[in-house]
């Protein structure tokens, strides 16, 4: 039977082309009935047409239609993918630019930090509204959230509704690619134990086939001279923004190490590997993006900032246009995990993948019900966490600290409580670099600047 998938935010230039191609490339989903819903009718239509084109080019029964009424779009869905941004760049620029005036430069600003907190305040009521519609129209559906800040958003739904919710993110996929370069292995051979939150998944153990992956990684890191002469199996794509540092005429393992310094330094020192890009991981800890080290330039932390986010969006449009104008459909997986997850549930063939789910004792550092990023199993019974782990030492404490901020952010968003927003800011590793008085004024300024997207606060 064909899967019924509704995509809320289905007009997204980023998500719709990738999801549709992945569905087309996944036999169990190639006959899916996909409903695209978006507030932007024109984009929604455009993506619907892309869907028709993909089905035609592949001669598959993939059925795509658009539906401007959200409740109607949700009716009968088995899977609801949510991908949206409240206020887009108009709101997001305040997330980035106001803290920047106070001297806080967020490499991304979409998960934690002052930007991530404000983004959560805007997005949580919207996602909750969707979840309540799901409760009413498709109560057995899985909500598959890919919207950031992923942890806070998923948590708001699981704390307020009975909707089955899972959050998906591709950061760990990026980490497996990095590890495959250093360990000369296939990405599919890597199997971690993860315990963390989204954009800060912490690997406490790693297998490469049957080998101890951490032992192999330590060997590589212990010998920089050998790493400088070791060619890697794939050159980094230009958009990764890596800097060539090793003297070799080819991209070497040393280049991989030098362009992933933060997470590999933390692994060397503390034995736990952050499984997200450095630009994400540094937002979860103090001390790496700091005036004292030129905001992380010495660590080669890549700063997106607003120009970077706008460039990404432009590239998404180009990607869509290429796909639209091509004569075939790319066979390349997007790297996103939605199709993998759904395939497990539709076919009943178990798949392991990183997922964001309520903690059921999986991460002992965090309270039960907190939303954690862990390895999960998707199969005919749905999706559930696979491992149990304790993150040791300082990374365990940083994880605990950030999760406190996330829990307070969710409460602040649900209650429209300014005091709680300030408390979250005071406890956030990036925001707390500022003097107390400035955190107070920055918080007020950010709330005021984005007031029109924060109806739950009387601003």
């Amino acid at each position: 039977m064909s899967a019924r998938i509704t995509v809320v935010g289905g007009g997204s230039y980023h998500w719709a082309p990738r999801l549709l191609a992945d569905f087309a490339n996944t036999p169990s989903l190639a006959d899916a009935q996909v409903v695209l819903h978006d507030l932007d009718a024109e984009r929604m239509k455009r993506m619907e047409e892309l869907g028709h084109e993909i089905a035609r080019r592949r001669s598959i029964p993939l059925a795509v239609r658009s539906e401007p009424d959200r409740r109607r779009a949700l009716d009968g869905a088995e899977f609801v993918v949510t991908a949206f941004s409240v206020g887009g760049f108009d709101s997001m620029q305040h997330d980035i630019e106001i803290p920047q005036r106070y001297g806080i430069r967020q490499p991304i600003g979409d998960s934690v930090g002052p930007g991530g907190i404000l983004r959560a305040l805007r997005s949580i009521p919207v996602l909750l509204d969707i979840a309540r519609d799901i409760e009413a129209t498709a109560p057995d559906a899985w909500l598959v959230n890919v919207t950031n800040p992923l942890t806070a958003l998923c948590r708001s739904v699981t704390s307020q509704t009975g909707v089955k919710t899972v959050g998906l993110c591709n950061e760990w996929v990026g980490c497996t690619w990095m590890l495959s370069l250093l360990l000369d292995c296939g990405m599919h051979e890597l199997d971690p134990v993860l315990g963390g939150v989204n954009h800060y998944p912490l690997a406490t153990a790693l297998k490469v086939g049957t080998d101890d992956g951490f032992a192999r990684l330590r060997e590589v890191l212990a010998d920089p001279a050998a790493a400088a002469n070791a060619k890697i199996w794939m050159d980094p794509p230009e958009r990764a923004g890596w800097v060539k540092t090793s003297p070799a005429p080819f991209w070497s393992k040393l280049d991989v190490i030098e362009n992933n310094r933060v997470r590999l330094e933390l692994f060397s020192r503390f034995g736990v590997l952050p499984g997200s890009g450095d630009h994400h991981a540094v937002e979860f800890m103090p001390g790496f993006v700091h005036p004292g080290n030129d905001y992380g330039s010495e660590w080669r932390v890549h700063h997106y900032g607003m120009p970077g986010h706008r460039r990404d969006a432009d590239e998404d449009v180009e990607y869509y246009e290429e796909m639209r104008d091509a004569s075939d459909v790319t066979r390349m997986p997007s790297g996103e995990l939605v199709a993998n997850l759904l395939d497990g549930m539709v076919t009943g063939i178990a798949r392991s993948l990183p997922v964001n789910l309520p903690n059921r004792g999986n991460v002992t550092n965090l309270a039960d019900d907190a939303v954690v990023e862990i390895m999960g199993v998707s199969d005919g019974d749905g999706v559930r966490g696979r491992d149990t782990t304790t993150v040791p030492g300082i990374l365990g404490e940083f994880l605990r600290r950030i999760n406190v901020v996330q829990e307070w952010t969710v409460s602040a968003a649900l209650r429209g409580d300014r005091g709680l927003v300030l408390e979250a800011m005071l406890a956030d590793p990036m925001a707390q670099q500022l003097p107390y008085e400035q955190i107070v004024t920055m918080t007020d300024e950010m709330l005021a600047a984005t007031a029109r997207w924060l109806p739950q606060f009387s601003l």
Partner: protein, 456 residues
């Protein structure tokens, strides 16, 4: 039977004299055998001489002996009071100066912050060594610790030994006095609950004569005019000199010296209960360049020169006291004599004490050392309350506890990585970038290496 009280660091001009005066003023302790131990022979005789002088003036049977041998001093002890400083100012100088060069200025540097971490690394092995000696020589004796950093030192002892121990700090008494001045309530009438760690305890309830005083404090702080014109409450028992001084002081003058704790009270509804110069070290956002290193909050940085001046004055005070023909009767505010009296006479007292968390602090992990109101009596010590904090402050204390646990672990294992972790988790040290933090930690470990044998 007269208790035998050994004071380790008994040559301390700052501590030993006032503890002895309190003991002589406490009938159950007036016949005590005082044993003074110090590694420095120089002050032992002057302090012992002072004890004899006090006993003679009061005509009580208190006796004194001295020893440079710690194990000898511990023999037969019922109570062991510890007032030490490993390396003294020679080591402490580095606690302040090295972080200063890395852009961290500490107002005290003896509890948390990079200075507090290093001080713990130096003192923990010494305190644990004393407690281990006690396990062999006087296993039933109480260890009363007055040494800083109190929380981590007490935790080192309870982590490693089974000696009965408690940490005693006078900071609460100071805040209690301030509150009595502002709220027109007698010092001894104030009743409260508090919870936290040493130098960062938080009053969660405050009453006098059946009245909840938090609303009154809120109203007072919201009324700048009233504060400015109202004279402070001056208790009868103050010495005449002090009474005269206090006459010209308005409540505004007092409130201005406590801006940090009152700002936090206004925001969170509970009152941090230590001097502001201590409190600001427990948060990242007060000791900043922008606040002129606390000046805008009314906090002055205590320097080594200030401490040297104080130490000199303690020495002069002792010389004067030895020549005086009376002994003060006013309690010093230290809790050594009261707690011993409670043990000896089964006299129940509620005191703010530092003990392992056995429920006093439901917001903190078990076994970490917490400061809370406890009952002292013939049966020993136990927590009285289970005081909960508002979530924001609970998290702040929890964070401090995590850094303190890493500090204790670093001190016991001699692990440099654990020392780096303790620094990263600390609110002041954690404000600088990671490379500088690692460099600073290395520099501090190197500069104080003579006092850190476990890191060799």
């Amino acid at each position: 039977m007269a208790p035998r009280i050994t004071i380790i660091g008994g040559g301390s001009y700052q501590w030993a004299p006032k503890l002895v005066v309190d003991l002589v003023n406490t009938p159950s302790c007036a016949e005590a055998e005082i044993v003074l131990h110090d590694i420095d022979p120089e002050p032992l005789e002057p302090v012992a001489d002072f004890v004899r002088h006090v006993a003679k003036v009061r005509n009580v049977g208190m006796t004194v002996s001295t020893s440079l041998d710690r194990r000898e001093a511990l023999a037969g002890a019922d109570f062991v009071v510890v007032t030490i400083s490993t390396g003294g100012f020679a080591s402490m100088r580095h606690d302040l100066e090295i972080p200063g060069r890395h852009g961290i200025k500490q107002s005290v540097g003896d509890s948390v912050g990079p200075g507090g971490v290093m001080r713990a690394l130096r003192n923990i092995p010494v305190l644990v060594g004393i407690a281990r000696d006690m396990e062999e020589i006087c296993p039933d004796a109480w260890l009363l610790n007055l040494t800083n950093p109190m929380t981590t030192l007490c935790r080192g002892i309870t982590h490693e030994t089974n000696i009965k121990s408690v940490g005693l700090c006078h900071e609460i008494a100071g805040v209690q006095f301030t509150l009595s001045q502002l709220l027109d309530v007698e010092y001894q009438d104030l009743e409260f609950e508090l919870v936290g760690v040493n130098h960062f305890p938080i009053f969660t309830a405050l009453h006098a004569n059946g009245e909840d005083l938090f609303p009154r404090l809120t109203a007072l702080l919201a009324d700048p005019d009233g504060l400015g014109s109202a004279p402070i409450n001056v208790p009868d028992w103050l010495p005449a000199e002090a009474k005269k001084l206090a006459g010209g002081i308005h409540k505004r003058d007092i409130a201005d010296q406590h801006r940090v704790k009152f700002s936090l009270f206004e925001r969170f509804g509970v009152l941090p209960g230590a001097g502001d110069r201590h409190l600001v070290e427990f948060f990242p956002g007060f000791l900043t360049a922008e606040s002129e290193w606390g000046q805008r909050w009314g906090v002055k940085l205590t320097t080594i020169a200030d401490r040297e001046r104080d130490a000199g004055s303690h020495k002069e005070d002792l010389a004067r006291s030895r020549a005086a023909d009376d002994v003060p009767t006013m309690p010093s505010g230290e809790m050594v004599a009261p707690i011993i009296d409670s043990f000896l006479r089964n006299k129940s007292r509620a005191l703010p004490l530092n003990l392992p968390n056995a429920g006093q602090a439901p917001d903190l992990p078990p076994d970490v050392v917490v400061e809370a109101i406890c009952i002292a009596d013939g049966a020993g010590l136990r927590g009285r309350d289970a005081a909960r904090l508002p979530p924001a402050l609970a998290e702040w204390v929890r964070r401090i506890a995590s850094s303190q646990e890493a500090t204790v672990d670093a001190a016991l294992t001699g692990s440099r990585e654990r020392a780096v972790e303790a620094m990263m988790l600390d609110p002041l040290a954690g404000r600088i970038d990671f490379d500088h933090l690692v460099t600073m930690t290395d520099e501090m470990l190197a500069a104080t290496a003579p006092w850190l044998p476990q890191f060799a």
